[in-house]
Homo-oligomer: 335 residues x 2
């Protein structure tokens, strides 16, 4: 059906071995024959069968993608779009392995082997609940996004969450805020731990003592933001500024503030995280931290490629800078 290497060999009047050599860039082939073969390849529109290729142990040019939380990642499309750029230029195709839920004994690692996947990118936001031991021990080159796993042939890439929150704190302190709260996301997540540390070191830098009651647990949702903010408002000495772990929780917090008859930023300054669409649409528009997910996506593939090509490469550990987008939800502290 589709033309194969034999068709090309016949048409060019050479052996299949020669065609293969031309296609794989061997230098041990005459310039004229090479040109003739290339000509025929173009004429016949010959594309080598990748199944046969990977069967003989050559590269499959396939990268797998593993989503820990289905498609629910807020930046899924951005990450993918960044990945796309690198996939193109490096020549990989991306395969999404549908996990067989029925089979109790399903193994993602075996699925990868069965598909001759050369490397895997992993992301999602519930990573802490999963075990990646099998994947890491399998030795398949793996790149985690937003999860600090660095072991064997597995490395990671992430935004600079620490610096992001530290910078937000610094900005608020410049606005004369001293009572600054941190509205935390899922406790165990790597990103959140880093952000919490950024909060602490931001305060420490200005010699503001850390107050337990100014840090609220939670998740990344709007409802959580609403409730957490209400608790903060009930304190004897409520904060004058709040740094939230997501834009959605900041939106919830804003609603709580407004429902309490207060206003943003006059009474309380609010900073979000993510810069999703709603951040610029809400009134007042939300000051927030923007992550460069396009770059994270692109670099994740590039790093994975390096990991695949160099078996001895120590696993990468890459932190991407973020940006503070200043809008209308932050202002000078009262008084």
């Amino acid at each position: 059906m589709a033309t194969n290497i034999h068709d090309v060999a016949k048409a060019a009047g050479v052996s299949v071995a020669t065609v293969s050599k031309v296609l794989n860039g061997y230098t041990t082939v005459n310039a004229n024959t090479k040109e003739r073969v290339l000509q025929i390849v173009k004429e016949l529109q010959f594309y080598p069968n990748s199944a046969a290729r990977s069967l003989v142990g050559r590269r499959s040019m396939t990268i797998g993608i593993f989503l820990t939380t289905g498609l629910a990642h807020p930046f899924f499309t951005q990450i993918l779009s960044g990945m796309e750029q690198a996939l193109k230029s490096l020549g990989y195709d991306l395969i999404y392995l549908a996990q067989m839920s029925r089979a109790k004994e399903y193994s993602f690692v075996h699925h990868c082997h069965s598909r001759n996947v050369e490397g895997v990118v992993v992301f999602g936001f519930q990573q802490e609940e999963m075990s990646f031991d099998e994947l890491i021990e399998s030795g398949i080159p793996t790149l985690f996004i937003d999860l600090d796993i660095k072991k064997g042939r597995a490395g990671y890439i992430s935004s600079d969450n620490h610096e992001a929150v530290e910078r937000a704190i610094r900005y608020l302190i410049d606005l004369n805020h001293h009572r600054i709260s941190f509205l935390s996301g899922n406790k165990d997540s790597y990103a959140n731990r880093q952000r919490l540390e950024g909060y602490r070191s931001g305060l420490a830098e200005a010699e503001i003592p850390y107050r337990e009651d100014y840090v609220s647990e939670g998740d990344f949702t709007r409802e959580m933001g609403y409730q957490a903010m209400n608790k903060l408002l009930a304190l004897a000495e409520p904060p004058t500024a709040v740094v939230c772990c997501s834009d959605m929780s900041a939106v919830g917090a804003m609603e709580a503030i407004q429902d309490a008859g207060l206003s943003v930023p006059e009474d309380i300054s609010l900073i979000g995280f993510d810069d999703i669409e709603i951040a610029s649409n809400i009134r007042p528009a939300l000051t927030t931290t923007r992550q460069d997910m396009i770059t994270i996506g692109r670099r994740s593939i590039e790093l994975l490629d390096e990991l695949i090509k160099d078996k001895e490469l120590p696993p990468p550990e890459v932190i991407i800078p973020t940006e503070l987008i200043i809008r209308k939800s932050t202002g000078p502290a009262k008084g």
Copy 2:
């Protein structure tokens, strides 16, 4: 490295042929041997190599995905999430073929053949600018989303855009509106053509004459909505209700209305399309049409699967119902 069929055969004390038969559900194998083989397969965690499988002409269980507009489709994740369900239960993996932009002679069809892709799903919103002739003529089972191509082994699935707008018009007429405008999206797109027809037939049903100046050209953006609305407001007899082709353009229209010192829905009723997040967050919350993209995604794979399995199957043509979500941007006509 990974265990292969020979390892299993040896361990089970049978030939590779027997193992293969067991794995492929042949009935011509003794119940006991079958059980023994299955046991070993589980113990050894044997997963057949898919490259070898597809090489011998058996199924590759791979479906390709083609995005006409990169990842920019507003419902990309929803469609994908619907697709995921069907992929799982049918056992397919999904491959995203990185299109080699550099190669002038790049052919998506050949890329598919080279990867032994069994079928392709196509979606995006700039379809009108592309040519799918090669894909359709290749005979690869293809399923288009939101594009009415039905030819050879290519069919399509789409929301019921016609009925959606007709229903919106009917709803506005029930609210006593007579001057109803349609804020059109990209003229050539299939979805938009259907919506325009729905607009016409909705008016015709109520015997309201079609007015050229009530239909504005445009795209799906917020800016366009703003400008188009301004033109409508400048008419001698402006509409009392506007049906928009997207929520974003409705948001733009709302801004134009408010900037003109008028209010929604008191002066003008507004209906969007899509029900994206902003629709429920904006004030007043937007009445809009919700598309069931999860179902569209799931069905697209199911239909493709049928197309793959039955070479004689006439190409499917499936329309999925939509839902009108009534919020606060619509109200009775003035006076």
